[in-house]
Symmetry: C2
Subunit: 360 residues, 2 copies
Amino acid sequence: MNKKILVIPGDGIGPEVTTWGKAVLEKIAEVYGHDFSFQEALMGHVAIEATGNPLPDETLAKAQQSDAILFGAVGHAKYDNDPAAKVRPEQGLLKIRKELGLYANLRPILLFDELLDASSIKPSILKGTDILFFRELTGDVYFGEKKRSEDGNTASDLMIYERYEIERIAHKAFEAAMTRNKRLCSVDKANVLESSRLWRETVQQVSKNYPEVETEHMFIDNAAMQLIKDPKRFDVVLTANLFGDILTDEASQIAGSMGMLASASVGDGTGFFEPIHGSAHDIAGKDLANPLASILSVALMLDISFGLKAESQLIIDVIKKVLAEGFRTNDIADGSTNPYKVLGTQDMGKLILKFIDQQS
Amino acid sequence: MNKKILVIPGDGIGPEVTTWGKAVLEKIAEVYGHDFSFQEALMGHVAIEATGNPLPDETLAKAQQSDAILFGAVGHAKYDNDPAAKVRPEQGLLKIRKELGLYANLRPILLFDELLDASSIKPSILKGTDILFFRELTGDVYFGEKKRSEDGNTASDLMIYERYEIERIAHKAFEAAMTRNKRLCSVDKANVLESSRLWRETVQQVSKNYPEVETEHMFIDNAAMQLIKDPKRFDVVLTANLFGDILTDEASQIAGSMGMLASASVGDGTGFFEPIHGSAHDIAGKDLANPLASILSVALMLDISFGLKAESQLIIDVIKKVLAEGFRTNDIADGSTNPYKVLGTQDMGKLILKFIDQQS
Ligand SMILES: CC(C)[C@H](C(=O)O)[C@@H](O)C(=O)O
Ligand SMILES: CC(C)[C@H](C(=O)O)[C@@H](O)C(=O)O
C-alpha cells in the first residue's frame, strides 16, 4: 500500500513523541511491504517563531494533499502567562481541525490490564473498562464568536450548535456502538443550556435509527462523577467539544496516564491522529515523555485511515507485551510497589521497534 | 441567638434530606439555647405543579426576609426526557441564586478518614486531601443570552463574564486561602476562550493583593485530570460557574459520595445552603438518601451565616463519630469488605440527633 503521511511535530514533547510514531510507521512499512512516504510541517509555537502564523498556508496545503496526518502537540508556557496574547499556538490546531472538517474526534480509552496499578483509581473499579469517546470537534464554544468590549471589561464566547453538526457525529457514534456493546451515553447540560437541549433532541431523534442501541442521556456534572465512580457502565460516550475535552482528560486516569491515550480526528478531510496529551513543556527535551500515545495514534491511523487492521493490532499487541514484561516510562511506573524497568522516551521507542521485529 | 430560617425542600429526595437538616437545627437550638424559627416554601417541580412557576414570588419574598435558607434539590425525570419543555424546575434554582445575588458558591471537599474506603480512588491518593472550591454562581453560560433559531435548527448560549464578577469572587477565594494553606488554583480554558482570558487576567491582577498566596492557573481539562490524579495538590480552587459545576461533582468521589458534600452560596443576600447532590428521583421516597450532605449544609450555615463555630464543629465531630462507629448509609457502605451497619435516611438522621445529645 502507498500512502503519503504528513508529520506535524509541533511544540514541547511533540517532536520527541512523533519521532517514535513515525519510526513505528516506517517499521510497519518495512515488515508488511508498504510504501509510506513522509513530509514534515510546522504548527504551533514553532510555526509562530518561524513564520508569525500558528498554521502556515504551506502546512495546510500539505495536510490537504496527504493521506493521513500524525500530529504531536502545540502550546508554550509563554502564552499561558500572557492571556492577552493575540497570536497563540492553539489557534493552529483549532484552525486545521476546522479547515479539514474533522468534526469527529474518537478517543478510545484502552485499558491495558498491565496498567491497572498505574491509575489513581482502584483496580477493582477499572478492570474491564473499555470506552470509546466521540467528541464533536468543529463546533461549540470553541468556534462561536468571541468578543471583548472596548473597555476590556466584558468578554464572551458563543456556545452554539447546529442540528446537522450534531446529527453527523451522532450517526458516527451510533454506528460505532453497533459494532461494540450497543450502549451509548450522550452527555450534555440540557437542564441549563439551550445548545444542550438541541443536542439532546437531536440525539433522541438519531437514536430512533438504531433501536438496538441502548441510549442514555446524562448531565455533564453527573458524567464527570460516574466516569470515575463506575467507568464500566460506559461503552460509547457522545458529547460536545468542550465537555469532551474535559471528560477525556479526566478519563486518562482510567488508562493510567495521559501518556497512553491516542485520538483520531475524522470527518470530511484527511484523518488526523494525535495523542490527547499536550506539549508538556515541563518535561520537554528530558527524554521523559511517554511515546506510547503517539504510537497508539499510529495504530489508529493504520486502522481507521488505511484499513490495515492486522498492522494496527500488531502495534497494540506489542505494547501489551512490552508492558507485560515490566517495561514502563516514568508516567506509568508506580515505583513504590513494583520493580519495573523504567525507560526514557528513546529506549521505549527502540524497544517497541525491536518487539515489532520479533513478533512479525 | 434568634434566627429565621427558610426551608425549601424541593423535589425528589430534597424533602427527605432537609427534614433531617432542619431536625439538626432544632436540636442545636435546644442544646445551645438558640431561638431558630422556621418557614417552608416551594421551589422546582413541586412549585410548578402547585403554581405553574418554579420560583413563586412568595418563595422569593420569604427568602429575602430570612436569615438563612436550607435548600434540598430540584429536578424531575419528566423534564430530562423532554428537552423542549419551556418551564423547568432548575429555573427556580438559577433564578433564586441570581435574585439573592449569591455569586460565590463554596464547596468544601471535606474528607472523613473513615470514608477513605468508600471512594473509587485509592486511599493513598486521597489521604490528607482538603479542598475548598469557590464556584462563581451568577454568571457564565448559565445566565448569558439563550437563543433558538426560528426553524429550531440552531441553538446558542452566551458564555460571558464581566471583570467585576470575577474580581469579587476572586477576593473571597484569596481571603479564604489566607486562612488555609495559602495556595490557590484558578481554573479556566484561557487557551481557547476569551471569557477565560478575562478570567485569568483578572485573577492575576487580584492575586497581587495577596502576595503570600501561591497562585497557579490551570486549564479545565488538566484540572479534571489532576483532581483525581493528585487531589492533595489543591487547597483553594477558584473557577467559573460551568467548570465549577463539573469539577465539584467529580470531586465528590474524593469524599466517597455525593451524599457527603454540602455547599454554601453567599454574596449580597441571604445565605443559601444545599447539598451538591441533586433530586435523585430514582431513590426518592425509598429511605435510601444520605441525609449527611444536608446536615453538613446546616453546619456550613451555622458557621458562615450565624458565626456559630462551636455548634458547626459539633455537627462535624458527631458525623465523624457516627462514621467511626461503623454506621453508614447505602451510598458510603462498601459492603464487600467491611461489616458496616447500614442505615436508612431516617435512622441515620435519628442517630445524628442522639449523638448530638450525648456529645453536648
Ligand atoms: C490545546 C487545546 C486547544 C486542545 C483542545 O482543547 O481541544 C487540547 O486540550 C485537546 O484536547 O486537543
Ligand atoms: C440543577 C442544576 C441547575 C445545578 C447547576 O448546574 O448549577 C446543579 O447541578 C448544581 O450544581 O447545583
